[in-house]
Amino acid sequence: MGKRDYSLFGADAKRAVESGLTAAEWYHSDLPRKAMKDLMARSDGPAIRDTVLLYGLMIVFAAVGIALWPTWWSVPFWLAYGVLYGSASDSRWHECSHGTAFRTPWMNNMVYEVASFMIMRNSATWRWSHARHHSETYFVGRDPEIAVMRPPEMLKLVLNFFGILDVLKFFPNLIRNALAGPTASEKTYVPQSEWGKVRRVAQIHLALYAASVVLALALGSILPLMVIGLPRLYGAWHHVMTGLLQHGGLADNVIDHRLNSRTVYMNPVSRFIYWNMNYHVEHHMFPMVPYHALPRLHEAIKADLPAPNRSIADAFREMWQALKRQLANEDYFLKRELPASAKPYREDFHQYVPGIMAPNAAE
């Protein structure tokens, strides 16, 4: 395949449609309907508990940070607040966009809107980009949420640990959305009926940021921005760290999530921040299963999946090797071994569709 064209209007986007890749059916592990229904069951309890804990901790950390401001003693509290604001909001945004966090719709919607603001995403746009990410996960030119493009741009990856590129992209886009609605590429996945909402949401976000800046200027202090806005930079590292592991170094243009997604065992703090999205193969295969049931889903289907990475460090080591190889050879991807109990990878499409991927690129 060689040089990839990630533009949503580019040659690879066209080829993915023409080859039938976008219409192909994804592989799913077998699971009896009854077990699946149990796993999909919704409840409010776990997410209410986690949400109260999350926002409670944020209030405490911010209050102590403000009280100790501007001494160095405030730093650990800002770091803790920042990671909850700039990283936990990503997983809350994600789970609530699926509508699986709570059983009660208004609770999902409320947390979704708050989290979208904190993670600097237009709530009316990103719902749709994420739907595309699930239909066409890592299809070059079709998936608008590809975190690691090939060849990997290492400097960009590093800068994004501090949210720098995301934020630099966010504000001009926010202003464009507030003035004129969605951009041309956003219009490829946001239905026309939602374009007005994209604009209204952008106007609200813009007003909130403008008010924070005005308050900071009036007080002659960046303190208001330490609470709103800046934590998206100084607290982004955890969601970038976990987000890169989701698909980094793995296959693109495949219809088997075992080939393009990664499950990683993580410590309980990271799992709270990340809301169990470390079970990423499972999440992509069965997006109906709420975050709190993913460990059970993992147990139910792990015999059909490649072995999970043992830790964040282990997964990074593995991904880093693959990214280094992709610098030299864009077609390289890491193909992990399946256990003997698993069904073979569904890679016919991957191997034989002309122009999509040369056979034997994987090792």
Partner: protein
């Protein structure tokens, strides 16, 4: 009226659904929380995914692909990313059989 024998009432658990294919089309038949049976088109209006793998909650069917939701009594699209409502079909029960009018 082309009433078609689709399945037995015991074939569908309460608050669940099954897929029924007939004449080249696919349908979803529901056993509602009110004990009644309902039928809709079997494919999601967003991306043609079979609804039979989805989740029935109260009077809602949630699509397994992107969690779009419909009211299966009326077909009304209730939650993004679905915008277009589902077609519904009349259902009747005769003895222990469920019949749907697929016209």
């Amino acid at each position: 009226m082309p009433w078609i024998d689709a399945c037995a009432i015991d074939d569908i658990d309460e608050e669940d659904l099954i897929r029924f294919d007939h004449g080249g089309a696919t349908y979803a038949i529901y056993h509602g929380v009110d004990g009644r049976f309902y039928a809709t088109a079997g494919l999601c209006t967003h991306e043609n995914v079979h609804l039979c793998d989805g989740l029935v909650m109260d009077f809602t069917i949630e699509c397994p692909k992107h969690n779009g939701q419909f009211d299966y009594r009326t077909g009304e699209a209730k939650r993004a990313p679905v915008c277009v409502s589902l077609r519904t079909f009349p259902v009747k029960v005769e003895g222990d059989r469920i019949l749907i009018d697929v016209q």
